[in-house]
């Protein structure tokens, strides 16, 4: 670590609080960070940690209600708090999470990239546009002239984010602030954007602050990490060292809670408890209520203590952290089920749109196109795919919440009619993604849980009351929660109530549609563990749908990979997670393969492979013309590809800089 150069951004003792009508909210409490010139600092924290507040404070965009103070806040020797307005957009560029919201839908991409050059640098119009085009080209955008004319809604998420980065770079900044720049994107696109950022940092000598909740992505790009917890920095140090041997219990906890394909068949270790109340900050260690190492002395204010080369930790017991378990004991490997399938789906198809009375020419777009899958009693089938692949539509088709255009659906050996009877409804239930929307905000937890009991005539009166108690216990919520309303619960608690509601009917089959995706890692781990335990104790079968292959790898016995409405690969989890892979699975699993994926811009034409437009291993015309065959890689493990299994077993990475790991900067 070269420590010599003066940092481009140096913040010491930054505190931010907001006045709210009832109490003062302390968003940041004595946060310090420094970014040496040309380096990338990762700022990691879960929701409520204050990480976005840091970005807004550096940009001077916190607004009137915030009171900001800092012992020192300098950008290249200038006072950041006083000069923020002059620096942002010029010497400090910023990229926000949601490119769809950050781009103006009414202006062309070209204008939005050129705008900073027109207003800040006062370049002539033609020159600004020429430079904007060059920038977009540098960011890997194909057909630049066309894209310059396009409006944001015509671009895919990844392209929009590239355009946003181009707009941020237009002012020739020296520091780029990236606030969750890839969170709204699919994993394969995320890998490409990270790759792009890595390249920019090398080619332009940019310094960056990468703010993220995702330890996986900061590891790929950052030189140093700073971990935030509830408004305080808890740990800072070189990325590799922090990730390999975290010294703060919270960092350790985050790593233990992160589901990863490599750590399959181990039990995640969630962080118990919830974020402390920011209205009355604990003068002592604010992680105390959740910390497995807490002792009486932790109630004293904690300073950032040195802990190894260039590392600091806000914990007086940091030497003990290495002894904390990272993962719990392995769970028993899933037993292959010999029983007859519980759910048997064949060739299920559903399209949207299509010709109407007035518009006869419209074509119907197939969201789900001939999906087949079987789920055995007590089995967890993980369905992984990125946004728009049709996985949620499939979930609704299987529960007959949407009518199918074609295909067969059988449950427990009997075909399920278009309008299923109550018995099917009782036995097949759903857990939904959004914790805020999945519970009726006007009903108490008790009323929410009693409804299915009454609807199916399962229990009444005092018996229903006992049933509610049983359900709350199943999802490990205190009984006192009966009388609460959804807004009085945290995200993880809401999700538990959603699970309890689905379990109320004692179903045999649960569809979990992105059931943990909206939760913070530490909470997500607890819900995943809960779902796993429920399977083990109740024998419920799940169709577990997620865009996150880490989550799927963790929980599923069988994995189905879906792309554009169709299965690409299926098989026992262990087989799917190890080579041979389908090229798309490979891209999901490895950032290296993902960055070789092409930018998809057209839907496939004709009968060829659905992945042909983006496939990094595409063979040629055959992929466009002929439908690929199902190849049997091992027992029950099948891959839909023209490439023979033996060849698929060898990684498809092309040699060269794009496939290599992050180049080390001197």
């Amino acid at each position: 670590m070269a420590e010599a150069a003066a940092p481009i951004l140096a913040v010491e003792g930054l505190s931010v609080s907001y006045a709210t009508p009832y109490a003062r909210l302390f968003a940041l409490d004595d946060v310090s960070l420094a970014i040496p010139r040309g380096e990338v600092l990762g700022l990691v924290g879960e929701s409520g940690s204050g990480k976005s507040t840091v970005v807004l404070a550096a940009l001077g965009l916190l607004g009137e209600a915030a009171s900001v103070s800092a012992r020192r806040a300098e950008f290249d020797g200038r006072d950041l708090l006083a000069d923020a307005a002059a620096l942002r957009g010029r010497r400090i560029g910023v990229v926000f999470q949601d490119p769809a919201a950050a781009l103006n839908p009414a202006l062309s991409i070209g204008l939005q990239v050129a705008e900073p050059m027109l207003t800040h640098q006062r370049l002539p119009r033609t020159e600004a546009y020429a430079r904007a085009a060059a920038l977009l080209g540098e960011l890997g955008i194909p057909r630049v002239a066309e894209i310059m004319q396009a409006y944001p809604h015509q671009l895919s998420g990844g392209m929009k984010q590239r355009a946003m980065i181009a707009a941020a770079l237009a002012g020739e900044p020296e520091l780029l602030l990236l606030d969750e720049p890839t969170t709204a994107l699919d994993v394969t696109i995320e890998a490409q954007i990270l790759d792009l950022l890595e390249g920019l940092r090398a080619s332009r000598g940019l310094s960056m602050l990468l703010v993220s909740h995702n330890l996986g992505i900061v590891g790929r790009l950052c030189d140093r990490l700073t971990i935030l917890y509830a408004g305080r920095t808890v740990e800072t140090g070189p990325t590799a060292a922090v990730l390999a041997a975290p010294r703060h219990p919270y960092t350790r906890g985050l790593l233990g809670a992160l589901p990863r394909p490599e750590a399959r068949a181990r039990r995640l270790l969630p962080i118990p408890g919830a974020l402390p109340d920011l209205r009355s900050p604990d003068p002592g260690c604010n992680f105390r209520p959740r910390c497995p190492l807490a002792v009486a002395a932790c109630a004293e204010p904690q300073a950032m203590l040195p802990a190894g080369p260039a590392r600091r930790v806000r914990c007086h017991r940091h030497a003990l952290v290495a002894d904390l378990p990272l993962l719990l004991d392995p769970v028993a490997p899933s037993r292959p089920s010999a029983a007859a399938p519980l759910v048997d789906v064949e060739g299920l198809t559903r399209g949207f749109g299509g010709p109407t009375l007035l518009r006869r020419r419209r074509t119907r777009v197939h969201a789900v196109d001939g999906m087949s899958l079987t789920i055995h009693p007590g089995e967890i089938v993980g369905l992984v795919g990125e946004s728009g692949c049709g996985k949620s539509t499939l979930a609704r088709l299987i529960l007959r919440l949407l009518p199918a255009d074609g295909g067969r659906l059988a449950f427990d050996g009997r075909p399920v009619p278009e309008r299923p009877d109550l018995a099917f409804r009782r036995r097949a239930q759903i857990v939904l993604q959004n914790p805020d929307g999945s519970l009726n905000p006007r009903r108490t937890v008790e009323a929410i849980l009693r409804r299915p009991l009454a609807h199916f005539g399962l229990a009444q009166g005092a018996a229903a009351g006992r049933e509610v108690a049983r359900l709350l216990e199943l999802v490990r919520l205190p009984e006192a929660y009966r009388s609460r309303y959804p807004h009085q619960l945290s995200g993880g608690e809401k999700q538990r109530v959603g699970i309890a509601r689905a379990l109320a009917t004692r179903p045999d089959f649960l569809v979990c549609d992105e059931a943990v995706s909206a939760l913070d890692v530490s909470v997500q781990a607890a819900v995943l563990n809960l779902l796993q335990d429920l399977r083990d104790t109740l024998g419920v079968a799940y169709l577990f749908i997620s865009h996150d292959i880490g989550v799927i790898a963790h929980i599923a016995d069988t994995i189905v990979v879906m792309y554009r409405g169709h299965a690409m690969e299926r098989g026992p989890a262990d087989a799917v997670l190890h080579a041979p892979h389908h090229p798309y699975t490979e891209a999901l699993l490895s950032a290296g393969a993902a960055r070789q994926m092409r930018l998809v811009d057209t839907a496939p034409s004709g009968a060829g492979c659905r992945f042909a437009g983006a496939c990094p291993r595409k063979l040629g015309a055959i992929c466009d013309i002929e439908p690929p065959p199902w190849r049997e890689a091992s027992a029950g493990h099948r891959i839909l590809c023209h490439i023979p299994v033996e060849q698929l077993a060898r990684p498809g990475l092309r040699p060269g800089p794009a496939g290599a790991r992050r180049p080390q900067t001197p």
Binding site: Y18, T20, P21, Y22, A23, L25, A65, D277, R279, R396, L399, L401, P420, D421, L422, R425, R426, A428, Q429, I430, L432, Q433, N434, G437, S438, L439, N440, P441, R442, R443, R451, P452, H455, F456, H487, Q488, G498, R501, A502, T505
Partner: protein, 284 residues
């Protein structure tokens, strides 16, 4: 928990507009109910010797062309406006909300069958529509309420459909569908409890307009008939004497004003109280 409880308690603080509007409205309602017993004079008795007496100690609001006490007539007429305002709104709620919810739930044919006639109704000016409904038969209070109520059905139907469409996308509705719940059950249990705040707020506004429209129709002779002392009707009858005895028209006009302002304040207060966005702005 304490934070949540605090938020909860704070959000229940009643806005001043709601209290003021409610108080005035309550007072008017009490006067309307006990009016017949406290009128100083018989509101319909002629007293030829006392025609056009200006406001004074004996007749606070003066007397009209037949010598009737204007204050007594205003008191006796108060119930008309209240019945028209709240009755008509209740009617349009009772018809419009179910229609709107059903249209939202059953997209397609049912929706078209409900919404197209409603679009047609909404395109007609309210007074004209009221006239159409009333002109064919002899008018009375009940019919005015009916006419005004029908005029506002489309507005409430559209609003409830729009609110319900948004709510039907929510996950908790999907969960209800996954239980196989029927339309009525989903609408009543899942949608309505979440849809009513905007509907109630709109209803507050509707009461104002219903009172106005009812009075306008009375003014045109299509409401309660003389000698009933509906305020719009009183204003209409006083027109010829506006130069000689302005108080005959001013008294009911002023009363109407106070009533409308009270209803408006109440509605505004209700909106502040129920609208989570306004509450959120205050709560940070």
């Amino acid at each position: 928990m304490s934070a949540a409880a605090l938020r909860h308690a704070a959000s229940r603080r009643l806005p001043g507009t709601l209290l003021l509007g409610g108080a005035v409205l309550g007072a008017i309602a009490v006067l309307a109910v006990i009016g017949p017993w406290i009128t100083p004079y018989n509101p319909t008795a002629f007293a030829v010797r006392f025609r056009f007496v200006p406001p004074g100690a004996a007749h606070w609001f003066g007397t009209d062309e037949f010598g009737r006490d204007v204050l007594s007539r205003v008191l006796a007429g108060a119930h008309y406006s209240l019945v028209m305002g709240f009755g008509a709104t209740a009617l349009s709620l009772a018809v419009g909300v179910p229609l709107g919810l059903l249209a939202a739930f059953h997209r397609g044919l049912v929706e078209e069958a409900i919404m197209r006639p409603i679009d047609l109704l909404i395109s007609l000016p309210p007074v004209l529509l009221g006239l159409l409904i009333l002109a064919v038969t002899p008018p009375n209070l009940f019919k005015t309420v009916l006419a005004v109520g029908i005029v506002y059905v489309p507005i409430l139907a559209r609003l409830s459909r729009a609110v319900a469409l948004g709510l039907l996308e929510e996950d908790f509705v999907t969960a209800a569908r996954a239980r196989g719940e029927g339309a009525v059950s989903i609408l009543a249990r899942e949608i309505l409890p979440n849809a009513w705040p905007p509907i109630i707020v709109e209803s507050g506004l509707r009461v104002t307009f219903a009172i106005l429209l009812g009075s306008s129709l009375s003014f045109l002779g299509l409401g309660p008939q003389p000698p009933g002392s509906e305020w719009g009707l009183m204003i209409a009858e006083s027109r010829e004497f506006l130069d000689r005895a302005p108080w005959i028209g001013l008294a009911p006009g002023f009363s109407l004003c106070v009533l409308l302002i009270a209803v408006n304040l109440f509605g505004e207060g209700l909106r502040e109280f129920l609208d989570p966005r306004l509450r959120g702005r205050a709560g940070g």
